[in-house]
Symmetry: C2
DNA sequence: CCTATCCATTGACATTCGTCGACTCAATCG
DNA sequence: CGATTGAGTCGACGAATGTCAATGGATAGG
């Protein structure tokens, strides 16, 4: 937020001099951007976004065997998407016998939601 | 939102029968998910997320030549990211002589922000 | 035990992505 | 006009992605 851009140049550069001031972008912002971009990237697939949507609406733990018939993809592909969501911290899972239950991690969405909502 | 999942199965399938009810996922939700995933995907890169951040904070039109020194990437790469943001509808641009000015399209973020914020 | 079931992993494949250097093109200045 | 500048495009490259069929490992039921 220390970024304070000047207005655009009104004329051509005097030949040799740089176009603009070398504005420094704070590293703390950069790290925050990396975190939020990771979350956004995980949501950047329709299947994964719908998975998070279903898990959020259900507000509980959902068995994988209930998620599979919701999508036109194979079970290994769904498993792959769930792994991506897990790696991004968006969901967590719990194994109970044969079945695996998934649920959302609300904290993971908070930072991105806050930034988007201003 | 018509999705109303049953609780997970308590026992193994009786061999032959399907594990779960064939839940139908509404197509309208699917199309909305595709739109929002497209926006999320555009934000799924740290450079692009920071670009949107800078443009939003500046709340005006920013010249490309002012954006280039903010990042450790080449000018063609930045141009490529701006194109991606344009294609996703997140930003728009306007050419004035030699310079190109970019600004955010607030509407594009609204749907994703609304979904994230519940 | 033996078999069926759930779910994850592996390997393969085509596609997309992020990045750069080289180039093009329009516009500006002298 | 001729030289220079801003910005977009192109071609190339390695890396990552989404998808599937095949496989594996653990567990429940008979």
């Amino acid at each position: 937020m220390a970024v304070d851009l000047e207005l655009a140049p009104k004329q051509k550069r005097p030949a040799g001099e740089p176009c603009c001031e070398p504005v420094v972008y704070p590293d703390v912002e950069r790290e925050r951007a990396i975190r939020m971009a990771e979350v956004a990237k995980a949501l950047g697939d329709p299947v994964r976004l719908q998975l998070v949507d279903v898990l959020r609406k259900h507000a509980g733990k959902v068995c994988v065997c209930e998620l599979v018939p919701l999508f036109d993809i194979s079970q290994p592909t769904l498993s792959h998407h769930l792994k991506k969501l897990r790696e991004a911290g968006l969901v967590d899972s719990e194994r109970r016998g044969l079945w695996a239950y998934y649920y959302v991690n609300p904290d993971a969405l908070a930072e991105l939601a806050g930034w988007l909502g201003d």
